[in-house]
Every structure is written in C-alpha cells, then in structure tokens.
C-alpha cells in the first residue's frame, strides 16, 4: 500500500470524525433527549461514533512514531494529572458558572450546551489518548503479540459502554454489569503482561517505581472521585452515558495497570543490575564487530578503541599507551590533552614492571597532579596483548570524586580482550602486506639483475668464454660483463676483449640499482680507457658521487689483447683470479682495495696492474665469493681447495664443461641448505684446440639498453 492511499484513508477518518462530531453537536443543541429512549440511543450512537473515529484517527498518528516506554509513562502521567485536576476542582468551579450541574443538565441553556460539548470533547480526547497509550504498552516488548486478548478486551469495553444506555430499564442492568465485570477481569489479565519492564535500565526502573505509585494513586483518585455526585463526571455521563462508562473503564485500567506495574518493577529491581550487565555485554559485542572492520588502519582502530573503552567503563577520558620499540607512547587520546596523557602515563609506567592484568589506580598520590589541566582522580588501565606480549595499555580516567567500580573494570577487561584481538589482526595484516611488498621488491631486483647481465657468452677465434650465474633468493649484487674493445669493423673482428666481475655490497633492490650503475660506468669507460688500473681508478671517482658510505663494490677488471696475446688485470678488493696452466693453479691477486672504500690517493696508490703473456690452453677463472662460501647443511664452506681441485681435475675439458662441473659439485655440496649469495663463475680458455670457432656477436648490449630505459622511466 502506498503512502497516498494511507493518507487518503487517514483523511477519511478525519472527515468521518468531523461529520459525526458536527452531527452530535447539532443534535445536542436542538434535541432534548429527556425521557425518550430512542432519542437517547441516537445520542449514544452519535457519541460512540465520534469517539470511535477520534481514536481511529489518533491511532494512525500514533503508529507512525516509536515511543520509549518511559516517555509513554510520562505522557500518561500528565494526562492522568489533568483528569485529576478536573475531578478535584470541578465541584468548586463548574457550579459557580452553571449552578448545580445535575439541575443544569436537566434544563441546559444554550451556552452550557456549547461549553459542555467542548469540555466533553476535550476529555474524550484525553481518554482516547490514554486508551491508545495502554494499547501501546500492551504491544511493547511482545514479540509474538497475542492480540486476541487485547481485542477481546476492547470488544467488551464497547459492549460495557454501549449497554450503559440500558440504564433506562433497571430490570436489565445485569447485562451492563456483566459486561462491565468481564471488562475488569480482562483488564486484570491484560495488565499482567508487562514484558517491556525487563528491557529498561536500572536507573529508569527506579524512577518508574516512584512514577507508578503516583500514577496508580491518581487513577484511583480519579476513579473513586468520579462518583455520580462529582460535577466533572456528571458532565461526562450527562453528555453520554456510554462515554461515562468508557471513562470509568479506562480509569480502572490505569489503576490496575500501574498497581501491577509497581509490583513488577519492584520485583525486577534486584535483577536490574545483572540485566544491565548482560545488555552491556551485548552492546560490547556490537562494538567488537565494529572493531573488526577497522583493522585496515591502525590509527583509526586505536581511535575507535579509546572511544568505545571510554563508553563501556563510563570514563571521562581515554587513551592508549603503545610500545614503539621499547618506548611507551600515548596515542589516540580522547577528551584529554596529549600533555596530561603523557604526564599520567609517565607516572603509571615509569619504573614499573609490566602489568598482565587490568588495575585501578588512584591519582591522589601523583606528585604532579596539580600540573594536569583537568582534575583527573582515577585511572583504569587494561593491557593490550598480542601474541601473549603486552604491547600497550588502554587507559580510562575519571575526574573529580567519581570512582571506577568492579563493573567498569570487568567491562574494560572484556573489551580490552576484543581490542587485543583487533590489534593482533591489524598487525598480521600489516605484516602480510609488508611481506608481499618485499617479495615484489625482490622480483624487481631480480629482473634488473637479469637484464644487466650478458644474455649470452661471446665467441672468439682464440678465446672461449663460459659464464654461469645463479641468483640467490635475495639479489646478492653479483655482476659480470664482457666488452668488445678496439673493434676493427672492416675486418669484422675484435682486437681486444674486456671483462669485469664485481660484487656490490648489500642485497636486494638497493644492490640491484648500484649494479646497474656499475654496469653503466664500465660499459662507457671500457671504450675510452685501455688500462684496467685506470678504469678502476676512474670508476672509483665516479662512484664517489652516488655510493652511500656503507656501500662498496669489489671488482676485478681485465683486458685480453688478441694481437699481443697478453692479459692485463687490475683488482679492487675482489676475489683473486685463478690461472690454470700446465696442471697447476695460480692465484692472480694484484693489490687493490674495494671501490667506494676510499676516494683519496690511498685507492689509487694501492692499485696494481698485472700483465701476463698467455700460453695455449691457459684458463682464467673469475668468480665471486658465492662459490667459495656456498654452505652445506653443517654450515661448512665449499672452500677454495675443493674449488681449485675441480678446476684442475677438469682442466682438459672445454670452458662450458668445466663450469658445468663446478656448478654440479656446488649444488651437490649445498643441496640441503639455502643459497645465501649469488654465485658467479666465468671461465676463459685461451686457444683451446677442441673448439670450433665462429665470428663474434655483440653480447649483452640490448639488455643494457633495456635497463637504462627502465631506470630513466622510473625517475
């Protein structure tokens, strides 16, 4: 049903009321009902419909609103008091205006008729209102309303009121009396259904106790005061005898209802506290569900926790003390200044062991209490735990002489447990987000590294190259590269071959970025500077601008001159190079400190360049400490001895075969433990007779361009 049709019906009720009221008015004005039963009956019927439509119309207005029981009681009390005034003063006031009412009623003048009509209409409205409030009470708090009882009662109310007209025939007055008595019995039965009383607060119950006594007495006074001698009642019943009866019934209803209400409330008082607590628990459960939705934002969560903590413990102000790396800091303060919160927290937790349970403390002994902006007198502190560790406290405080009782304490206990769970969830969520972020970062770092390293090994007539790189889970910062120097484009051959192996300190994305920079530096320097020593010196100078103090790079750079058949090598803090010649192994370890360790003369002076003539079948091995420091399950190092032995044992094989052999052995060695550092191995074999030669390809260049492009894009 849409609103329009309701409105329409609503208006019809109003119109019907107005019509019947007008009819009644005119009828009263011009018809003298005295002595005629029929005329009386018409009068009663008109009065009945007037009140009936009035109630129906008012009922619609009533249904649109939701009333709290206490406000209903208050309204009802006021109406009842109005009637009380009418009953009490009508005897002294009305006769002054109209003479003896019983006489006037027999022979009313025009003015009396008008005034009595308005008077009756006013009280009819009050009675209707009372009736509607009782109806509201009846349905309050009833889940499955057995409306049949109430409806039956209403029917008997009507019957008792309508049959009052039978007063004309005293011999059948038992009919009227029977209906009246049945009505009273139904009133008593229906009055016993006061379920709403359980749901109101303890304080309200106490005031209800007092109110119900007063209202009950008022109803009784109204009922017994409304005798046939009472002017007020005379006016009402003289107007319509049925209305007078209805008025009496409502007064009885009120007296009975409030008498029952008084005793019910009385019996509910002892359990009121328990009920309140239950109600509080239910509401803190609601709070808890509110907390759950806020775990995404720690600060927001903290604010909500203090807000609710303050409410459940009836405190004036609240805040949280949270442990940030062993230091307790006040956060999320509500209704209290930061300075006050800090002063009190300092007093509470300075030099005190961790409290595992909640406690109440009086601030009277707090020596700096006078420095507080507000006179806080008591605190209630509850620990917030995550993983059984106290991570902070929820603190509530009260001003003045108010104290925290055990009830407040238990409320905050329950709530702080909920809050702890919420904080724990918040932390776990944050951790998993952080973990995901780190993994993403590692992916990026690995991607950078992959693109920086040469895509494939170069191939030369006199030199075979084999490189292996195995990244660690966390990018370790290994870098190696090959450069074509002094290219003779017309002949399609390279005169010199440059190579670098380096290890950037640190791990992850920061190491990957330094690697990218190192690649850029050597890529360009290799084209302009020939001497490995000079290249390293210049690289060191360039790195000065970008390297953090705690970062450094170990590197070894070498150049092989195909024409002169010599190799020149300089080393900046890197693992020595190995030369395998004639079944013997030799460390090539020119002096030099790592790049980025010193930017002065010391670096330049420490550097040494070694030049060696190459012999057929010479093997040069470049590696990073990922090989020698590979660990087995007992945390032992793979070590240099083992490494060198493998190289010697396999020295007759091709570069690729040797590197495969080394990697096979290392993975065999460390198969039960994780790889902590990148592993890089580069094997250069000079004039090996086994290999078929083919023209060179430019290695690694496209990878380089991609990385550079990406870095520029990101900045």
């Amino acid at each position: 049903m849409d609103i329009k049709s309701i409105k329409l019906k609503h208006n019809i009720k109003l119109q019907l009321f107005l019509i019947s009221a007008s009819f009644l008015f005119i009828y009263k004005l011009f018809v003298n009902t005295d002595g005629s039963f029929v005329l009386h009956l018409i009068n009663e019927i008109a009065a009945f419909f007037t009140v009936w439509f009035m109630i129906l119309y008012a009922n619609d207005i009533f249904n649109e609103k939701k009333f709290s029981p206490m406000s209903l009681v208050m309204n009802l009390g006021i109406m009842c008091a109005v009637i009380f005034l009418a009953v009490t003063f009508s005897d002294s006031l009305l006769p002054v205006l109209f003479g003896r009412i019983s006489d006037t009623l027999k022979n009313p003048d025009f003015i009396f008729k008008i005034i009595s009509f308005l008077y009756v209409l006013f009280f009819a409205a009050i009675i209707s209102y009372l009736f509607l409030i009782f109806k509201e009470f009846y349905y309050l708090g009833q889940k499955k309303s057995s409306s049949i009882y109430f409806k039956t009662m209403v029917v008997f109310f009507l019957l008792a009121s309508v049959t009052a007209v039978l007063n004309f025939f005293p011999e059948v007055s038992y009919i009227k009396n029977t209906f009246f008595i049945i009505s009273v019995i139904l009133i008593i039965i229906n009055s016993l259904k006061i379920s709403w009383i359980a749901f109101i607060k303890k304080k309200e119950k106490l005031s209800l106790l007092l109110l119900s006594v007063i209202i009950c007495i008022l109803f009784f006074v109204n009922l017994f005061g409304s005798s046939d001698e009472n002017s007020h009642y005379q006016v009402l019943s003289g107007f319509s005898i049925g209305l007078g009866q209805f008025y009496k019934i409502i007064m009885i209803y009120g007296a009975v209802y409030f008498a029952v209400l008084f005793f019910t409330t009385l019996f509910h008082i002892p359990t009121a506290e328990a009920f309140d607590r239950k109600a509080q628990e239910v509401s803190s459960l609601q709070y808890f569900s509110k907390l759950i939705t806020q775990v995404l934002d720690f600060n927001e969560l903290a604010e909500t926790v203090t807000d609710i903590g303050k409410k459940v413990s009836n405190g004036d102000a609240a805040w949280i003390i949270w442990k940030y790396e062993k230091v307790l800091k006040p956060i999320a303060h509500q209704n209290i200044g930061y300075l006050d919160a800090e002063l009190i927290s300092d007093y509470l937790f300075r030099n005190k062991p961790v409290q595992e349970t909640s406690y109440i403390e009086n601030l009277q002994r707090f020596e700096k209490r006078s420095q507080l902006n507000e006179p806080y007198s008591m605190i209630l502190a509850a620990p917030l735990k995550t993983h059984d560790e106290v991570k902070g406290y929820l603190i509530v405080t009260k001003k003045g002489d108010f104290i925290f009782d055990d009830e407040d304490k238990s409320a905050i206990d329950t709530f702080s447990d909920y809050a702890s769970v919420a904080f724990e969830n918040s932390r776990l969520l944050e951790e998993s987000i952080e973990k995901e972020r780190l993994e993403k970062e590692l992916d990026v770092a690995r991607e950078i590294q992959r693109k920086i390293l040469p895509a494939k090994d170069p191939v030369y007539e006199k030199l075979s190259v084999s490189s292996v790189f195995i990244p660690a889970f966390e990018v370790g910062g290994d870098y190696y590269d090959f450069f074509e120097i002094d290219e003779d484009l017309s002949a399609g051959q390279t005169n010199k071959f440059g190579f670098i192996i380096a290890d950037v300190s640190g791990k992850g994305i920061s190491a990957a970025f330094i690697m990218a920079e190192v690649k850029g530096i050597f890529e360009s320097l290799s084209r302009t500077i020939e001497s490995p020593k000079e290249i390293l010196i210049t690289a060191n100078q360039i790195l000065k601008r970008s390297l953090d103090r705690k970062n450094f790079v170990s590197a070894a750079y070498g150049v092989i001159d195909f024409k002169r058949e010599v190799i020149s090598i300089a080393r900046a803090g890197h693992c020595p190079l190995l030369l395998v010649r004639n079944g013997k192994i030799k460390n090539i370890r020119p002096k030099g400190i790592g790049l980025g360790l010193n930017y002065g003369d010391q670096f330049r002076l420490s550097l040494e360049e070694i030049e060696l003539d190459l012999a057929d079948n010479d093997m040069i091995v470049l590696y990073t400490d990922g090989i020698t420091e590979a660990k087995n399950s007992e945390m032992e190092d793979f070590g240099e001895t083992k490494f060198e032995k493998i190289l010697l044992d396999n020295s007759g094989k091709s570069a690729d075969e040797i590197s495969n052999e080394v990697i096979k052995e290392i993975s065999q060695f460390s198969k039960h433990s994780t790889q902590h550092d990148d592993i890089t191995l580069v094997i250069l074999k000079w004039k090996q007779k086994l290999k078929i030669v083919s023209p060179s390809e430019e290695p690694g260049l496209d990878g380089m361009e991609k990385v550079n492009g990406r870095i520029q894009h990101r900045s």
Partner: protein, 121 residues
C-alpha cells in the same frame, strides 16, 4: 645459523666491542646501533674484537665504513683485533688492512690508543 650478538665493555677511555656469530645484512643493524650509541656518548676510541665472529658479509663490512669517517673526524679510530684467518681473509681481499689498523690482540690495540693519547698531551 649462529645468532649474532654484540657486547660493549669500557677499558679506560677505550670502548671494546665484542662480536660473535654471523654478521650479515640482517644483523648489521645491531652493530650499527652499537656504533651510534658510542658516538652519541662521545666515545670515539673503539676497538672491535672479532674473536668469536664466524662470518662477516659485505653488509657487515659496510658498517665499519659508515662510521669511520665521523669517528676519525673526532680524532678517534676503529681498530680491529683478534680475527680468525677466515675473517681476516675477507678483510684482506677488500684491502681493509690499508684502511684500518688490525691487531692480533685486544691489548695491543688498546695500548696503541693510549700511546697516541699520550703523544697528543
């Protein structure tokens, strides 16, 4: 993996930092905190005892580089002592002996500080 731990002991005007376990990217921050602490207390004469240190990674070495400049500006120093061969080898490869004084015993390093202190007076 053996946990990393540090301990600081004052020996006159010299602070001796004892390291044990594995010093790598994950544990380097602990040693950083030690050095920051000492610097904030104006203690610039530092001897680091490596007797129980099993392993040091490049990130661990970086810690020394991060603080040495500040310490030397304040006429202090970090002197390194009692390294195992393996740890010394790591330092040696990188050329640390050229940048840091490395001694066989803690006493030697402390004595060295005292001598230079006398000269200054």
């Amino acid at each position: 993996m053996a946990e990393f731990s540090t301990a600081v002991k004052d020996q006159g005007s010299v602070s001796v930092v004892y390291l044990s376990g594995y010093l790598d990217a994950h544990t380097a921050s602990m040693l950083e905190n030690n050095f920051s602490d000492l610097i904030s207390k104006d203690k610039f004469k530092i001897v680091v005892n490596f007797k129980d240190l099993v392993y040091i990674s490049s990130a661990g070495l970086g810690v020394f580089m991060a603080f040495i400049e500040k310490i030397r500006e304040n006429s202090g120093d970090i002197k390194l002592t009692t390294m195992s061969d393996k740890v010394f080898n790591i330092f040696d490869l990188l050329g640390f002996p050229l940048l840091y004084e490395i001694y066989n015993s803690e006493d030697e390093a402390v004595k060295k500080f005292e001598e230079t202190g006398k000269v200054e007076k």
